[in-house]
Symmetry: C2
């Protein structure tokens, strides 16, 4: 990723997405997964980085199976990737069976009613229809619970016409190493596979891939790690950063005690301070909980956010930097190599996933790289065009 | 706003924006402002509700002056409203003077350098150019501080060629009644007006309008109150709700102790509970801090959010509702008449502004009303089309 970001004259901030890093992250996870297929989760506009650019880059890197949450997202993805396998995690929506069939979407069947409706759809189609079957092993969110699984084992004909793409389940606590729930969920999943009809299996999410080969089964389903979120928070991030946000410095002012900064007068200046105001706020996804907690970097130096985050602005303390190093028109790095998404999340008492999906619509978006995934030899690291 | 929302087959949730309520809110604030002009702040995609629909509805209601943060937003607004006055709050960006002139954007000049550049632009245009001049009275974010104001008073020729649309300032604490900072800022503003060249003045934001006529001056600049956020948090909301979010119930399951719900196993079920899983999450702007804190309503009854908010899903406790009252395919109200945006914000330990601007891109968006603002007699309350 280039070091220097030139912010176009009419915008406040630039969101850069590194498609080469995205592809490299997928390849790294694919290698780690050994013989298991490595799918790619691209729901929520590819975790906020942009489905239109991310999905083709992941496909070029080698991903063949993709997951989204909603049928509407699946249809958008189908236009981008005519030949991919597309799974719909939220299940088979009532009265939408024909949409799934028309766009070749594979529902993740979450209960017996969804199984019955898809079996009926297969009968009326006159051919088998593929589906994932979700087994709930402890999230208590979606998927067949143990009572449903017992029924299904006793009456396997409920699956008539359904071609099992995989039985799958989802970890609740895989981001914590050695959390007992991960082993318990794996054991429950294995027991269920033993008494259900045969079929491929899929369990590990991003963190799960790092928690031992016994969770890899036939397919792993990374999401957050693809986009640079650390799947192993207890240690260094094995993934490359994908997202970078740089914003324009609008003003630098000297503030003296007993003055305060921002809404609610929550930051009390101690002695003289220099405060820079930067053109991005919670409307751009810099969530408000970062107020008086987060930081940005200017020229590689960390600068604390002081006062509340405003809708369109943040204020940071630049007292420790030379005056000539911080001028209106310069850029501050809000997320990027110097300010990892997980660190931003920690300051806001949340997780990197939320930071990514909250990224707003107001940025100038640049996508760099991407061609490398198709033809590495042709790649040059030039700047992408600003959208 | 209609009571019953039908969620289209392929989507998880519907965002409804009531353009009649938006117009009524502007008219209410306009009446309260007496002879002062009532502008409309529409930055950040009209606080998340959609600039393309909101701006024309506000113009039809009578608003003539609009404010956005960035020149890029101003250009987008100019295409919608060819004749409106458009102020750019973030100031006069370097090297963007020609963009402001080409699209007839009025910069809010925030320092002496911006004043100098706009005065130069006027000289080269050979005609006066309008500008707001922002006086910082305590936010320490943007605007001329007292030293800059002294220079400007001593050297008024710095404003040559600039037609003062208004001197303005911005309140830090107007949402708290009788906060001493509001009176202090008003006094500072008045003192500055006394020694600066003559010109119209503008101070009150949404809350300021309710804090006494002495802050109204020549123009008020409401934002949040237009969109239904309570400008007087200490008492009942005088504004009409503008935004409503309804989401699809995907599943309802019985969970028994000692099971847990969701990521991190943060919700421990006490005895038997029925849990409904709903198709919206933090990627849709239901910020993650609502986990184990917020609530939704189903059929008018509040249901607590249990467990963490997931990216695409929330889980709520529906144990107290009859089984037939909560079925997959039904809708839950996440924001709306039964679940005001300020209540959602309080559960997430933030403000209604952030809830609105965080509303994601994945909703089916419906805009209802709007024609009433143009021709009240023709208005019928029919459903808008789903985008």
């Amino acid at each position: 990723m280039t070091d220097f970001i030139d912010i176009p004259a009419r915008v406040g901030a630039v969101l850069t997405v590194d498609l080469d890093a995205l592809a490299a992250n997928w390849r790294h996870l694919d290698r780690l997964s050994g013989p298991a297929e490595c799918a790619a989760v691209v729901k929520a506009d590819a975790y906020g980085v942009g489905l239109e650019e991310a999905a083709p880059a992941l496909a070029a890197a080698g991903a063949r199976t993709f997951f989204v949450a909603l049928p509407e997202e699946g249809i958008r993805l189908r236009h981008l990737l005519p030949h991919a396998r597309i799974g719909i995690l939220d299940g088979l929506f009532p009265a939408a069976e024909s949409d799934y069939r028309a766009h070749d979407l594979i529902p993740v069947l979450n209960d017996l009613d969804e199984i019955a409706r898809w079996s009926t759809a297969a009968r009326s189609a006159g051919r088998p229809l593929p589906a994932f079957v979700h087994l709930d092993t402890g999230m208590n969110r979606l998927g067949l619970g143990s009572a449903d699984r017992t029924v299904l084992a006793a009456e396997p004909e409920r699956l008539d016409g359904i071609e099992i793409a995989a039985f799958m389940s989802h970890f609740a606590c895989a981001d914590e190493p050695d959390h007992p729930m991960t082993a318990a969920q794996t054991a429950t999943f294995l027991r269920a596979l033993n008494y259900l009809p045969p079929g491929p299996a899929s369990l590990a999410n991003s963190s799960g891939i790092f928690r031992g080969q016994e969770t890899h089964f036939d397919m792993v389903r990374p999401g957050a790690a693809l986009y640079g979120v650390n799947p192993t928070p207890e240690t260094d991030n094995p993934m490359q950063p994908v997202v970078r946000v740089d914003a324009r410095i609008l003003s630098v002012r000297t503030v003296d005690s007993p003055e305060t900064v921002g809404y609610g007068a929550t930051h009390q200046v101690m002695g003289q301070a220099r405060i820079a105001t930067i053109a991005a706020g919670y409307a751009d996804g810099l969530i408000r909980a970062m107020g008086n907690a987060g930081a940005v970097t200017i020229d590689g130096s960390a600068c604390r956010i002081v006062g509340h985050v405003s809708m369109d602005l943040i204020t940071v303390d630049v007292s420790h930097l030379a005056e000539e190093a911080v001028q209106p028109g310069d850029a501050a790095q809000l997320i990027g190599p110097d300010m990892p998404v997980d660190m931003v999340a920690a300051a806001a008492d949340t997780i990197g996933y939320e930071i990514l999906t909250a990224l707003g619509r107001r940025y100038a978006r640049r996508h760099v790289g991407g061609d490398a995934a198709v033809a590495p030899a042709r790649h040059s690291p030039g700047r992408g065009a600003v959208a």
